[in-house]
C-alpha cells in the first residue's frame, strides 16, 4: 500500500491522446494505473512540445503532463494474442478506461459484455466524442470541433468578430474530470451492489456542461448567450488597463469601500449614487460602471492598485501571463509545483501538481511518466505470472 486514497485500485488506461488526464487524476491519488499503448507508442507521444524541441516518443511534454504516475505496457490489440493478454489483465482489474470510437471495443473483442462476463465487478468507462448513442455517434472531432459543438467557442471574444479559442484542450479536460467523477461514482455503487458499471460518457456533453450558464440562459430567457468582449457573462467582471498592464475589475466586493476609494481619487463621476449599492443595479449598469472604473485605474500602476484593492478586500486581480505562475509565492509556498526526477536524462523538471492538499492521504508523485513499454515485462510477470521465456517470445513476435 502506497498511502494514497486510492491505493490498491487497479486501472487499465486504454485512452489515446484526448482524455488521458482522467486516469492521471486517479494515479495521483495512489491508483495503480497501467497505460496500455500500441507497440509504436501512444499518439500522445508524437504531440509536442518536446523536451529541448527534439521530437521523440520519450520526450513529449504533452505525453509527460498527462501520464505522470502511470506505468506503460505495450500491447498489439490487432493481434489475437494481444487481445487475450488484455482480457487477462482486465480479469483482475477494477477499472478500464477507453476512448475508442463506439463499437471499436466490441470489434477488438473486449467490449462491455465480454469484459463484464469475465469480471462482473469491473467498471468500464467509455469516453467517446459524442457518446455511444445518437445521430452524431460516428462523427469525427478534435478539441476545437468539440468546443464548437459544445458551446465553448461561440461565447469568447467580441460580438461581430470571430469567436476566440482558449488555451489548452479544455473540451478534453472537462471530459477527463467528468470521467474521473463517473469512475468514482461507479466504484462507490459497486461497493453496495458488488457489480461493475458501464459508463457512457459524451465529451460533447462534458464540454457543454462546462458552459452551463449558456443553457441556463436559454432555458430562462430563450436567448443565445452573446459574446461580450472582456465583460464576464455575470456582468460583475471586466478587464481594465492600468498604466503598466491589464487587471480584472470586480463589482461584487464591498461596494461602499470601493466607491469611497474611487471618490477620494476624484474619479467616481456618476457612480456615487445610492442606486449602485444594489447588486442588481450594478448588474444592469455594468458597461457604464466599468467605463468609469477604467478611467479611474488608467493612471495607477498595477502593483499599487492591486495591493490597495486587496487591503480593502476588493476581489481585483492581475491579468498576467502563465509564466508568472512559476514565481507566484502562494503556489510556491503551498508546494503546487512538483519536482520530478527523470534519471535517464539526469535532469529534474517542475510539473504542475496538486489542486488539493489532503490531510491523511496526500497527492503524490509516485513515478515520472513512463518510457514506452518500460513496465511491460514486470507487469506480465507480476500480474499474469508469465516467465522470461514467454515474455521474450511475445516480444520477438512484436505482440508487446
Amino acid at each position: 500500500m502506497n498511502g494514497g486514497a486510492l491505493a490498491g485500485l487497479k486501472v487499465l488506461d486504454l485512452t489515446g491522446h484526448r482524455v488521458q488526464l482522467c486516469a492521471r487524476i486517479l494515479a495521483d491519488m495512489g491508483a495503480d494505473v497501467i497505460k496500455i499503448e500500441p507497440p509504436a507508442g501512444d499518439d500522445a507521444r508524437r504531440i509536442g512540445p518536446f523536451l529541448d524541441d527534439l521530437p521523440h516518443r520519450n520526450r513529449s511534454l504533452f505525453f509527460w503532463f498527462y501520464n505522470l504516475n502511470k506505468r506503460s505496457l505495450t500491447l498489439d490489440l490487432n493481434d489475437p494474442r494481444g487481445v487475450e493478454l488484455m482480457r487477462s489483465l482486465a480479469r483482475s482489474a477494477d477499472v478500464v478506461i477507453e476512448s475508442f470510437a463506439p463499437g471499436a471495443m466490441d470489434r477488438i473483442g473486449i467490449g462491455w459484455e465480454s469484459l463484464h462476463r469475465d469480471n462482473p465487478a469491473l467498471v468500464l468507462c467509455s469516453m467517446a466524442l459524442f457518446g455511444q448513442t445518437g445521430p452524431y455517434r460516428d462523427f469525427e472531432a478534435d478539441d476545437t470541433v468539440l468546443s464548437a459543438l459544445g458551446g465553448m467557442l461561440y461565447i469568447n471574444g467580441f460580438p461581430g468578430r470571430q469567436p476566440v479559442r482558449p488555451l489548452g484542450l479544455q473540451a478534453y479536460h472537462s471530459s477527463a474530470y467528468f470521467g474521473a467523477i463517473a469512475v468514482m461514482l461507479a466504484l462507490l455503487a459497486r461497493d453496495r451492489t458488488g457489480n461493475g458499471e458501464w459508463i457512457d460518457l459524451s465529451m460533447h456533453e462534458a464540454t457543454a456542461a462546462a458552459v452551463e450558464h449558456v443553457a441556463g440562459g436559454y432555458f430562462e430567457r430563450k436567448e443565445a448567450e452573446p459574446r461580450r468582449g472582456t465583460l464576464h457573462w455575470s456582468r460583475f467582471f471586466r478587464v481594465g488597463k492600468c498604466r503598466d498592464g491589464y487587471i480584472m475589475h470586480c463589482s461584487l466586493g464591498d461596494w461602499t469601500s470601493l466607491i469611497e476609494w474611487v471618490k477620494a481619487d476624484g474619479k467616481a463621476q456618476d457612480l456615487d449614487v445610492p442606486e449602485y449599492n444594489e447588486v442588481v443595479y450594478r448588474f444592469l449598469k455594468a458597461e457604464h460602471l466599468f467605463d468609469v472604473l477604467d478611467e479611474w485605474v488608467k493612471d495607477y500602476s498595477r502593483e499599487d492598485l492591486l495591493e490597495r484593492a486587496q487591503l480593502l478586500r476588493q476581489p481585483y486581480a492581475s491579468v498576467r501571463p502563465p509564466e508568472a505562475l512559476f514565481e507566484d509565492e502562494q503556489l510556491i509556498e503551498r508546494g503546487f509545483f512538483a519536482e520530478v526526477a527523470h534519471p535517464e536524462l539526469g535532469r529534474k523538471f517542475r510539473y504542475p501538481g496538486a489542486p488539493y492538499a489532503w490531510s491523511a492521504t496526500p497527492w503524490r508523485v509516485y513515478r515520472r511518466p513512463p518510457l514506452l513499454g518500460e513496465h511491460t515485462a514486470e507487469i506480465l510477470r507480476d500480474n499474469l505470472g508469465m516467465d522470461a521465456a514467454q515474455i521474450a517470445a511475445l516480444m520477438a513476435e512484436e505482440v508487446i
Binding site: 471574444g157 474521473a180 443565445a224 487587471i247 492538499a357
Partner: protein
C-alpha cells in the same frame, strides 16, 4: 427506480456563488442528500427555479440558519455531526470561528470528511486574498492568452475556474468517501480553486518550466499536433443571423483527400503549396482564405454534414439556441432533462454528461427557495419540536 451511488450520504453545504455549488450539485444529482445552510438574504444572484441558478441549486435542500447566533451555530454543528461530508468555500478563519473546522468536527465525529474550496487555499502568504472565478482565471494566465489576433484581450466567455474548482471538489468528496469506506478514516481537504484551474493549463505549463518558452495566445493553431486547415470559418448568414461559423480540423493525408472531395475538388486544392501537411501549415493563411471562400457559400449546418459524411472533423460553432433547441445529438441523448416546478409546469436544465449502466444519477428537483426545507431539517433531521422551533425563530437563530 434503481438506487443511485450516493444514496444515504449526507453533505452539509456551506458553499455559495458557483464553484462550491457545482461540486455539491454533482453529488446531489447522484443521490446524496445535500443540505445547504444559508442566511435568509443571500446576495440576489437570480431565480433558483429557472436557468443557471436552478442548475446550481437543483437536487439540494435549503435551511436558513443564522451563523451569527450561538444557537444557530449549535444547530449547524449538530447537522455536521449527522453528515458524511462538510463543504465550504471560505477562508480558513470562518469555519474555525464557528468551531466547525476539521479539528473541531472530527472531535465530535471522527470519520468526518471536511472539504474547503477556498480561492487560494488555507495556507500560504495569500491565503486571505479575496477572489472569484474570473479573477483566478486572470491570475492563472488564461485571460491573458485569450486575445484577438492583434493582441487585444478578448475575455473569457465562461467561468472555467469555477468549473474546474467544482469538478475537483466533487472528486475530492468521492475519493475521500471511497477511502473512508476502506479505512474508516475521514480527513480534511484544502482545495485551492486557483490551483485547480492552473492545473488544467496542462502541457503549456510544461513548455514554460521545461523549455523556458514564453507562451503566445494559441489562436487557431492546433494544440494537439499538426493540423491544417484548422480553425473556425465564417459561413453563410442564416436569415438575419450573420454570426454563423464552422470549426474544421484536417490532420492526416487521408483526411485532406476526403476534405478536398467533400468540398467538390476545387482547382486551388491542387496547388503544390498545399501538397503536404507541412506545406499546408506553412501556407495556412492562403489555405484559410480558400476554405473561407467555400464556407461563406454554405449554411454552417450543411457544410458540417457534407464534411462529416466524408469523415472530416467539422462542427457548427453552436450558440445557446443551437445547443438547446436544434442540436439533434443533445436531444437524442436527453441532455436537457425536464424537471417539474412547484406550479405544475416544468423547466429544462443541463444534464449529467455520463450515464452509468445500472446506477445513473438523475435530476430530480429544481432549486429550493432559501429555507424551503426548514420543517424537514428541523423536524426530521434534528428532531426539534414545534415549541422549540418557535423559540429559535423568536430568538433569531433560524429563519423559517
Amino acid at each position: 427506480m434503481p438506487p443511485m451511488p450516493l444514496e444515504g450520504i449526507r453533505i452539509l453545504d456551506f458553499t455559495w456563488v458557483v464553484a462550491g455549488p457545482v461540486a455539491t450539485r454533482l453529488l446531489g444529482d447522484h443521490g446524496a442528500e445535500v443540505v445547504k445552510v444559508e442566511r435568509k438574504h443571500p446576495p440576489p444572484l437570480g431565480n433558483r427555479k429557472l436557468g443557471l441558478q436552478c442548475d446550481l441549486h437543483r437536487d439540494k435542500l435549503s435551511v436558513a440558519i443564522n451563523m451569527q447566533h450561538p444557537r444557530g451555530i449549535d444547530l449547524a454543528r449538530r447537522l455536521a455531526a449527522m453528515s458524511d461530508v462538510v463543504m465550504d468555500n471560505f477562508s480558513a478563519r470562518v469555519m474555525r470561528n464557528w468551531g466547525m473546522d476539521y479539528q473541531s468536527l472530527s472531535a465530535v465525529k471522527p470519520d468526518i470528511i471536511c472539504i474547503s474550496m477556498s480561492g487560494l487555499g488555507h495556507t500560504g502568504p495569500k491565503s486571505s486574498y479575496v477572489s472569484y472565478g474570473p479573477t483566478l482565471q486572470a491570475l492563472s494566465g488564461y485571460t491573458m492568452l485569450m486575445t484577438e489576433p492583434d493582441g487585444t484581450p478578448a475575455g473569457y466567455g465562461y467561468s472555467y475556474a469555477d468549473m474546474c474548482g467544482g469538478y475537483t471538489g466533487a472528486l475530492a468528496a468521492l475519493i475521500a468517501l471511497y477511502h473512508r469506506e476502506r479505512t474508516g478514516r475521514g480527513q480534511f481537504i484544502d482545495l485551492a480553486q486557483f490551483e485547480a484551474v492552473t492545473a488544467v493549463i496542462g502541457p503549456a505549463l510544461m513548455d514554460i518550466s521545461v523549455n523556458g518558452r514564453t507562451q503566445s495566445p494559441p489562436g487557431y493553431n492546433s494544440q494537439e499536433g499538426p493540423s491544417a486547415p484548422h480553425g473556425v470559418y465564417k459561413c453563410k448568414a442564416d436569415g438575419t443571423d450573420d454570426d454563423r461559423w464552422l470549426a474544421i480540423s484536417v490532420r492526416t493525408e487521408a483526411e485532406w483527400r476526403r476534405f478536398v472531395e467533400a468540398i467538390g475538388s476545387p482547382v486551388w486544392t491542387g496547388d503544390p503549396k498545399f501538397r503536404t501537411l507541412y506545406l499546408r501549415m506553412q501556407n495556412h493563411a492562403d489555405l484559410d482564405a480558400h476554405v473561407s471562400q467555400w464556407t461563406t457559400s454554405q449554411r454552417a449546418e450543411d457544410a458540417m454534414m457534407s464534411l462529416q459524411k466524408m469523415k472530416v472533423a467539422a462542427g457548427l460553432v453552436e450558440n445557446g439556441v443551437d445547443m438547446c433547441a436544434h442540436d439533434p445529438q443533445f436531444a437524442a441523448r436527453g441532455f436537457w432533462p425536464e424537471v417539474a416546478n412547484s406550479r405544475g409546469g416544468s423547466t429544462n436544465v443541463t444534464g449529467i454528461p455520463f450515464k452509468l449502466s445500472s446506477s445513473s444519477g438523475r435530476v430530480r428537483t429544481i432549486g429550493p427557495e432559501v429555507g424551503e426545507n426548514f420543517d424537514y431539517v428541523m423536524g426530521e433531521l434534528l428532531g426539534i419540536g414545534k415549541a422549540e422551533r418557535d423559540a429559535l425563530i423568536a430568538e433569531g437563530a433560524v429563519w423559517p
